[in-house]
């Protein structure tokens, strides 16, 4: 199996590693970088537990090769809180009981993060479509929707107060 040297930034830190061409990005992140917050749920791009951001786009990392992320900026759930402060989405999921077993939660938060960056004021229907690539078996989604609404409201509040404490890193 051929190997490649890749360099990428993950949560703002640069890494250079040698990987097999077939190594999946999710395995690279979890096993080479020990960032185990990104989960694996279906292996077929269906469930979204492995969602992370590549150059700001939500990607299901179980069907992307690590080599395809060469040169990219990757953000995982571990990079979402900044300087000990929870991101409004993390706060919202906690405040509104947007999680139960927690397994889908990192992927759900990463998809919601992309959604709010593209659409800071989504309707309930837009939120539901925005996370429709992420399966949750525990919550029935009501409280996930509320969590994202909470985060959207909080982020708008934060921008008017602090002049924009931007979530994107």
């Amino acid at each position: 199996m051929s190997k490649h040297t890749i360099t990428l930034t993950v949560n703002g830190n640069e890494f250079t590693r040698e990987v097999e061409s077939r190594t999946l990005l999710v395995h690279f992140v979890r096993e080479d970088l020990d960032l185990t917050g990104t989960h694996i749920g279906c292996d077929t791009t269906s469930c979204g537990a492995c969602t992370l951001l590549v150059n700001g786009r939500a990607i299901k990392s179980c069907t992307m090769f690590a080599v395809q992320a060469n040169g990219a900026a990757v953000e995982t759930i571990e990079g979402v809180a900044q300087n000990g402060d929870l991101h409004p989405l993390q706060e919202g999921f906690w405040e509104k009981h947007g999680l139960q077993c927690g397994y889908c939660t990192p992927g759900m938060i990463m998809s919601a993060k992309q959604l709010l960056e593209q659409n800071p004021n989504p309707t309930e229907e837009e939120i539901r479509w925005g996370i429709s690539g992420n399966l949750c078996r525990c919550t029935g989604y009501n409280k996930i929707v509320e969590a994202i609404q909470y985060a959207a409201a909080k982020a708008r509040e934060g921008q008017t107060e602090a002049g924009g404490e931007e979530a994107s890193s």
Binding site: I40, G41, L86, C101, Y103, L135, C138, K143
Partner: protein
């Protein structure tokens, strides 16, 4: 933004959106202030900070030095003889450490077979034949996940295909014998009955109205988003086996492992870390677990095995698969008089259901439901087919979902027969006196069915919806309203009747209070998302006045937690939650003695007030639980043991019987046959509520898991026994788009026998929702002559019914 340390603020004392008209049966009682956060507070979950930051610790996150990886070769046939297995090419591959076959397990002490939870046997790895598609054939151990996956392609198994038997009715004819290893050459496993046959037949012979319906509750899969897996770490020097396992019942699994492997039980430690959803699928012991443990024993190294989704869907335990014929009798006044049910239970290739041992059909005989009737008789037959073994819960207490689906469907069919409104037929026939002895032998602890029905009808605006439906029907539009007034039975269970492999179904709690008034509490259950770290802490806060934030709750490590039977069948609150309350009361009894000593008064002079003992009539003379805890280690009464801790093994006197009424409104697209759930109101009664926010979350989640089998999910096999639902592209879990905005509410009818008056909630919605949805769809199509539709109600099924009835777009 809140800082990470700012974790236990903001508790709203009353539920948001509580009904303006709050009467006695609705109000959540709160006895403690927010800083203590006992029962009734919407406390934010203590477990969440790690999950929202990606710091959970699930089995696949465990990484040990020198760890090997295991993968499994699976059968491409549902029924075949194994002629040969050639593993030479795999073994010659760099990085492959071992291949484990059935013969190896046999040589290791007969480990190629294992007992199931129902005292049947199941193959771990086969020697002569396979009996279901995707059955484990052999396991490969390698230095890397990818090398192991490659190596399974280098193992060549020669099969001689045999005829499969996929349909359980065919299987009953015994033309193809699934289990040739058995002395009796038949696929029929067991016959089970409940109720009084003669009395039931008599009631039916005298009935003015009888309706009959056959229905299939199809095979489902729990599909927790985390699949199953294990890291087994055997230390040859200490002979200690440490196991990280996706387990809903780690203590029971330790005992099973000890009995099956011969390893001494004190040398086995099972750690069930964070679990990514269970729903019953992590109760059984699967062959992969045994292979993984053996792989570590053989290699002396840690071995990780994590299923992929297809393996999970194709080979792990299924749920449901009941083929039911139900008859209901009523008198001329529309009073239900009897129920007669025959059911065929498709068990797959082993009876590996996760039921209490004496209940091969689980608690299915709860099927007389919420209705008072004279007689009932239930028969169930279990049969082998060449499909994976199972019979797990899918978020349900041992076959209660099948029971509720059946009774709620036939009740609607009876309402149609009588020309009555389904709400009124239900109301007329409700059980009204509790405790109630059912014709199949259950003693319902408490209920107020009419209150839940009334509240649901009022919330959704039932009368107005019926008017809307009539108008729409006149315009040719399809709208339906469906009701389900279910009764559940949960919290197994009393030791006289309930055991698993002989182990009684008690559960346990151990509380230790530290000198500074903080505490650790350990339980025999294991949360898989239910929020035990929070709700158990709230129970202790309620009982002892210790702030819930000061109580650390631990579960899942068999070396530290007290023995218990685990979390499934909504049993955690009824059993371990009760044990927590009882252990706290033991501590309180000792605390009272210490307080009396410190205050120099008699115990009778003291009264409890939220978090302290105070002298009756002079409350300024008081000792808080924290004062008492400190004294227990620094200044305890002479002659008394130091310390402040207690353990309780709680054996419930009865099961608990949560109930509720759900009403669903659907609109049907005439062009596509698509069913859209427009509104869904769920009024649940689970007795006293520990944390209303957590209860709402449980109900929402259960409702989506009830929507799923009603409209989307089914494990399908072709005529060869091949699984056609092996990915999430084929087995359709509802997303946030299909799942409606659930409207929930509650009534409160405490359980008279539970120490907290609580009943359990996690599964009621999965049980109650499917018939409400089906009843709504049938209601929408009833004027076209439709009386019943099998689940899942796919657009294709509805489209065909519409076309048959001459309805076009």
């Amino acid at each position: 933004m809140s800082h990470l340390d700012d974790r236990f603020e903001h508790h709203t004392p009353k539920p948001e959106g509580a009904s303006a008209k709050v009467d006695l049966v609705d109000e959540v009682q709160i006895k403690t202030p927010p800083e203590i956060c006992g029962m009734g507070h919407r406390m934010k979950r203590k477990e969440d900070p790690r999950f929202i930051q990606g710091k959970g610790n699930y089995v696949d996150d465990v990484k040990l030095p020198g760890m090997l990886y295991m993968d499994i070769v699976r059968s491409p046939y549902a029924h075949a003889r194994i002629v040969s297995i050639d593993d030479s090419e795999a073994l010659a591959t760099e990085g492959v450490v071992a291949v484990i076959k059935g013969q190896d397990l046999e040589a290791a002490g007969g480990l190629h077979w294992m007992p199931t939870l129902m005292s049947d046997t199941q193959m771990v790895l086969p020697i002569d034949k396979v009996v279901y598609y995707a059955q484990e054939v052999c396991a490969v151990v390698a230095t890397d996940r990818y090398i192991a996956a490659d190596a399974i392609e280098k193992i060549f198994v020669e099969y001689e295909p045999l005829e499969p038997v996929v349909d359980p009715h065919e299987a009953m004819k015994d033309k193809v014998i699934v289990r040739e290893d058995k002395e009796q050459k038949t696929n029929h496993i067991w016959h089970w009955e409940a109720g009084d046959k003669e009395a039931t037949d008599r009631v039916f012979s005298e009935a003015a109205h009888v309706v009959e319906q056959t229905m299939h509750i199809p095979r489902l899969h729990v599909s927790s988003i985390e699949t199953c897996g294990m890291v087994a770490n055997y230390n040859k020097a200490t002979e200690h086996m440490q196991i990280y396992m996706t387990s809903q019942a780690p203590h029971a699994h330790r005992t099973v492992f000890a009995l099956v492997s011969g390893l001494p039980e004190h040398k086995i430690q099972i750690i069930s870390p964070d679990i990514g959803g269970g729903f019953g699928g992590k109760v059984p012991v699967y062959p992969g677990y045994v292979c993984c443990a053996v792989a570590s024993l053989v290699t002396g190294k840690p071995v990780k095995w994590i299923e992929d989704r297809s393996e999970n869907l194709q080979a792990d335990s299924f749920a449901r698969d009941y083929h039911i014929t139900a008859e209901m009798a009523a008198d001329a006044d529309g009073m239900i008089t009897g129920l007669r049910v025959k059911t065929l239970s498709d068990c797959g290739a082993a009876d590996a259901a996760a039921n209490p041992s004496k209940f091969p059909a689980g608690l299915y005989s709860i099927c007389t439901g919420s209705y008072d009737m004279q007689a009932a008789h239930i028969e169930v037959d279990g049969v082998y087919t060449t499909k994976p073994p199972g019979g797990v819960a899918y978020r349900c207490s041992f076959r209660v979902t099948e029971a509720v689906h059946m009774i709620e469907r036939v009740t609607d069919i009876m309402a149609a027969e009588l020309g009555q409104d389904p709400a009124e037929l239900r109301r007329k026939n409700f059980i009204r006196e509790f405790p109630y002895k059912s014709p199949t032998g259950w003693e319902y602890d408490s209920g107020n069915y009419e209150a839940a029905l009334d509240k649901a009808m009022e919330t959704i605006g039932y009368a107005e919806l019926r008017r809307e439906q009539a108008e729409k029907r006149a315009r040719g539009e399809l709208m339906g309203i469906g009701i389900s007034s279910f009764t559940e039975v949960v919290g197994a269970g009393p030791s006289r009747d309930y055991d698993i492999l002989g182990i009684k179904m008690f559960d346990s709690a151990e509380i230790r209070i530290h000198p500074t008034g903080k505490a650790i509490a350990r339980f025999g259950t294991k949360s898989q998302g239910q929020g035990h770290e929070t709700t158990y802490a709230q129970i202790i806060a309620e009982e002892l006045g210790l702030p819930a934030a000061d109580v650390q709750v631990e579960e899942g490590d068999t070396d530290t937690a007290p023995y218990g039977l685990g979390t499934y069948a909504s049993r955690s609150t009824p059993t371990a939650g009760a044990a927590g309350a009882m252990a706290a009361r033991k501590i309180k009894a000792k605390a009272k003695k210490i307080a009396a000593y410190l205050l120099e008064v008699g115990e009778d002079d003291l009264e409890w007030n939220v978090d302290r003992f105070q002298v009756k009539g002079s409350p300024e003379q008081a000792k808080t639980i924290q004062d008492i805890a400190f004294a227990a280690y620094t200044n305890h009464p002479p002659g008394m043991e130091a310390g402040l801790e207690a353990t309780d093994y709680y054996d419930p006197p009865n099961l608990t019987f949560p109930f509720g009424t759900y009403i669903c409104v659907v609109d049907i697209d005439k062009g596509t046959g698509e069913v859209k759930v427009r509104r869904f109101v769920a009024i649940d009664d689970c007795g006293h509520i520990i944390n209303p926010m957590v209860v709402e979350g449980q109900v929402h989640g259960g409702l989506t898991m009830g929507l799923a089998p009603a409209l989307f999910e089914e494990i399908v096999y072709d005529e060869n026994g091949q699984n056609l639902s092996g990915t999430f592209a084929d087995y359709l879990l509802p997303t946030a788009v299909e799942s409606p905005k659930w409207e929930t509410g509650h009534t409160i009818t405490p359980s008279p026998h539970h120490p907290l008056g609580a009943k359990g909630i996690g599964e009621s919605p999965t049980v109650g929702a499917p018939p409400a949805i089906v009843n709504a769809v049938v209601d929408a199509l009833s004027h076209l002559g439709v009386k019943h539709i099998e689940i899942p109600i796919t657009p294709e099924k509805v489209w065909k019914l519409l076309r048959e009835a001459g309805v076009t777009d």
